[in-house]
């Protein structure tokens, strides 16, 4: 395209001259890019410095909208940052000191320290007290020595925080993690909360701990006397504590300063809060811990007498004997309907109280609710016209695994009118986007054994009243599900076993909680009815006895282009949003392996005797292969291989061939997590170009199999770069339980080969550059075990310009 009109004029003008446009541009530049930009010229420096300092520590990319979730922050150089802050503090002290001594010699030639200079640009700040620990800086000591004075006492750590905050005059979001170790620190904290917070602050999160101080002392004092200036901009306040002893933070007077508070998250209430909470006229969201009857009643009173704007309530409950009546009172106390309720363990009365909120309810989360009956769930689902999210199963990342007892029975879920047999319309059909609940009560005559291959016990499966009843019921459940036209997440099961501590596995535990009266999820049973769920993005069928992966003979009436395997016909995904049947399948590979547990047990004992039975291995492969075939779904974008497989370390080579075949078909895979990265490596390097998140784990170090697994517990640095080269879109790479090996990657190196000392060549930066061939890696997060020895990777960091988080996990033996 040739130039348009005389550009002599235009070349001097560029979008960089217009601040609004630079404002747009900055969203696309990472912190690294910004550091380069500020060094280009003075004009560019002035332009980009505010963005560079917008968030400390910097996030990968700036968030566009206020309600976007916060991004991971950049923790590469925590110690450098703390040095900066300390130097700043000290130079201010030094300056004051000098000014005191040399009255007229104002040493204004020395430039302001960094944080003072740029503090005014900081809008988002995250501080950890533990990182700001006092380390005496030589220059200061020297100066003090020359002046003939003693080095000043180390100030309490919170002083640094206070000082830092003083520099940030326009701060909006603040997060501090701290401890109060003694009275002196307490004073500093009082100062911080009293006068340290800038008026502009909108969002304040404080995680505070009192590890050594008695709780009783805290109840009387307040952290500030309430006479300080109000904080009118503060909208979101979170004050929680880390320790297990819950205490009530002395924040009463502080709250009165927050005149427009909209969201509050605190650990605990006590009597001193009476009346105060109710005064928060603008409070919309409340998250609180209830740990005894008294606090429940207290909250109820506050709800009854105040909190006129409250719409969202989230209650964490840490005791078992919560009385139903208390909860019921609490839920009934509010005068206007609530939009969002997140609460635990409830019984009849409480449920009835909740039902009162159905007309306004948008999000309901009742986890660990033993007594939530099927009828209740039906009632809630059918009469909540605004309901968007209905959750009864705990999240995957919840700290304690928990077997959810709450379930909705198929017949209740179907909710058919008794005379016409049509499905009754439910109010939330056009609004529901998230459904996480177990649907049970479907007869499954096809199930003959439990998950671990043992005979079924009474009550595990339902008998049919007539032949085919199971299919009929299943079909109607699909019909009901299909009515939720906006459904995006459908999770009918969740991982409730404790997979991280195999030693705790009791034989047969795997059977408990496994669903045997659930949907079949096969085409034959009517899975196609769900085809209308065009927005569906996540489907979870974990711990359900489904027929996923089982070959189905195509019936004459079905689509001739459909392949025998369950979802293949659906996977002709197109770019423009016409979704296949199930776009994403969140599926752990072992979800229907009946004899897995048995095999593992046998394997351990076999190996201890040093024998490996050929025939038995063959049997194992056959079973494994059968499920690998289920992977032949090119539409698959998220695959998570089970952690249980990791115990089969020695079979790595043999399993490799199956792995390879299965993975090479998954062209659209975006997220991939595999305990056997060595198996996946060849396939990865050739056929997963879109992968963004790669989590390649390795077997945990097993003491028994010490030597053997250690050799397999390696990743070569060369491999890492090979992966980055062939999967150019990878932004997250996780290797867990791995030892990083600096040896150059030998293509033909076999497992178990012993390498001669002199043959070993270390893989270096030049090698990495050769592998990458000039490609710029997009990698942003790298996660490895501590055994990786960071110094090996350190030399490569310049080749990974976007790497914001290099994370080393604790090893667990």
């Amino acid at each position: 395209m040739s130039t348009l009109f005389p550009h002599h004029i235009l070349l001097t003008m560029s979008p960089f001259d217009i601040p609004e446009l630079v404002d747009q541009l900055r969203y696309y530049l990472s912190p690294h890019d910004l550091t380069v930009c500020v060094r280009v010229s003075k004009a560019w420096n002035a332009m980009f410095i505010p963005y560079l300092w917008y968030s400390v520590p910097p996030t990968a990319y700036l968030v566009r909208r206020e309600d976007d979730p916060p991004l991971e922050s950049y923790r590469r150089h925590d110690d450098r940052f703390s040095q900066l802050v300390q130097r700043d503090y000290l130079s201010t002290l030094l300056q004051a000191h000098i000014n005191n001594n040399n009255n007229n010699n104002n040493n204004s030639n020395s430039p302001l320290p960094v944080t003072s200079r740029n503090g005014r640009w900081i809008r988002v700040l995250e501080l950890q007290q533990s990182f700001l620990q006092w380390k005496p800086i030589p220059a200061f000591i020297e100066h003090a020595a020359t002046e003939g004075e003693t080095t000043p006492e180390s100030p309490p750590d919170p002083e640094f925080i206070f000082h830092m905050l003083q520099q940030c005059t326009r701060l909006q979001r603040l997060q501090i993690e701290g401890r109060v170790n003694d009275a002196q620190e307490l004073e500093s904290w009082s100062k911080i909360l009293g006068s340290g917070l800038p008026r502009t602050i909108t969002n304040f999160t404080l995680v505070i701990d009192y590890p050594r101080v008695q709780i009783e002392q805290r109840t009387e004092e307040n952290w500030d006397n309430g006479e300080e200036e109000p904080l009118p901009s503060l909208r979101i306040l979170n004050v929680t504590c880390q320790s297990s002893r819950l205490y009530s933070p002395p924040l009463l007077k502080f709250i009165t300063r927050c005149t427009h508070l909209e969201s509050l998250h605190i650990s605990r209430l006590n009597e001193t809060w009476t009346g105060v909470l109710g005064e928060c006229l603008h409070l919309k969201s409340l998250r609180i811990v209830i740990f005894d009857t008294k606090s429940a009643q207290l909250l109820t009173d506050e709800l009854r007498n105040g909190l006129p704007s409250l719409a969202n309530i989230h209650i964490d409950c840490y005791f078992e004997d919560m009385r139903d009546q208390d909860l019921a009172n609490m839920f009934s106390a509010c005068r206007t309907g609530w939009r969002s309720i997140n609460a635990p363990c409830i019984d009849k009365l409480a449920v009835e109280a909740i039902v009162q909120h159905c007309p306004t309810m948008e999000e309901l989360s009742l986890k660990r609710a033993h007594e939530l009956s099927s009828k209740h769930m039906q009632q809630i689902l059918s009469s909540s016209p605004r309901l968007r999210s209905f959750i009864t199963l705990i999240d995957e990342d919840d700290s304690l695994p928990y077997i959810d007892a709450s379930q909705i029975l198929a017949l209740d879920f179907i909710d058919a009118d008794s005379s016409s047999d049509f499905l009754r319309p439910w109010a939330c059909e056009s609004t529901l986007t998230v459904l996480r609940a177990k649907i049970l009560g479907i007869p499954r005559p096809d199930i003959t054994k439990t998950y671990s291959g043992r005979p079924l016990e009474d009550g595990m499966v339902l008998p049919e009243d007539y032949v085919g009843q199971g299919q009929d019921i299943g079909r109607r459940v699909y019909e009901r599900l299909a009515r939720f036209t906006r459904l995006e997440r459908l999770e009918l099961g969740h991982e409730d076993r404790d997979v991280y501590y195999p030693s705790r596995k009791i034989r047969g535990l795997d059977d408990i909680g496994h669903q045997y009266t659930c949907l079949e999820m096969s085409l034959k049973s009517g899975l196609r009815i769900l085809e209308g769920l065009k927005q569906l993005r996540v489907l979870s069928v974990v711990r359900m006895a489904t027929l996923i992966g089982v070959e189905e003979r195509s019936s004459p009436s079905s689509d001739p282009t459909s392949s025998p395997s369950t979802y293949c016909s659906a996977s002709k995904s197109t770019k423009n949003g016409t979704s296949p049947l199930i776009p994403l399948l969140w599926h752990t590979i072992d979800s229907s392996l009946p004899t897995w547990h048995k095999i593992l047990k046998e394997f351990d004992s076999e190996h201890a005797q040093g024998q490996m039975d050929e025939q038995w291995l063959q049997l194992l492969f056959n079973k494994y292969a059968h499920h690998i075939r289920a992977l032949e779904n090119p539409g698959l974008t998220f695959l998570h291989m089970s952690r249980n497989l990791r115990r089969l370390g020695n079979l790595a080579n043999e399993l490799g061939q199956f792995h390879h075949k299965a993975l090479s078909g998954l062209k659209n895979l975006v997220t991939f997590s595999d305990p056997y990265y060595r198996l996946s490596l060849p396939a990865l390097l050739r056929s997963l170009p879109l992968v963004k998140h790669l989590c390649l784990e390795l077997p945990r170090w097993n003491r028994l199999l010490d030597t053997l697994e250690l050799k397999k517990g390696l990743v070569y640095i060369g491999d890492v770069f090979n992966i980055l080269k062939h999967c150019p879109n990878v932004v997250y790479l996780g290797f867990e339980g791995v030892r990083l090996e600096p040896i150059k990657y030998f293509e033909d190196m076999e497992y178990g080969d012993d390498v001669e000392e002199e043959e070993v060549v270390l893989f270096g930066v030049e090698d990495a550059k050769a592998v990458l061939g000039g490609m710029v890696c997009q990698l942003e997060r790298l996660c490895m075990s501590r055994r990786a020895r960071f110094e090996h990777m350190q030399q490569f960091l310049p080749l990974l310009p976007y790497l914001a988080k290099c994370h080393f996990e604790e090893e667990q033996h």
Binding site: L10, D33, T35, V38, K42, G577
Partner: protein
Amino acid sequence: MSAHSQILLTSSEGTEFIIDRDIADKSMLLKCMLEDIGEIGQAVPLPNVSGPILTKVIEYCTHHRDDPNFLSANDDVAADIDEWDLEYCKVDQGTLYELILAANYLDIKPLMDLTCKTVANMIKAKSPEEIRKTFNITNDFTPDEEDQDWVDEH
């Protein structure tokens, strides 16, 4: 089949352009203007946009005319630019800048995103010297200032 109503635009030099209504609607400025005023007999003057640039902009909007994702366009900074868009942006810097200005003036968010991403890509993974070369900027730092800034951020 209903005929699209047509809009008449005039560039800064006075050149006239006739475009279909649905293409004009890609520009929020024009869309709002037309909604308020209704059918206009006269041309809409665009004194800030030159003829050639306006041609380019119309080219973009026409290509994306049927794109369903046009307005919900990606806030995903890491999303890739598709081929046609990549080719479209292979123009000299001056034109690129004018496109940004035009997209900003006409309020066409996806074009704005695209052009900004393109400029950002010109900045990424470069050293300060390389950036100066690309954008023809003189280095006005004194040596010690330069060092200090460098220390600042690493």
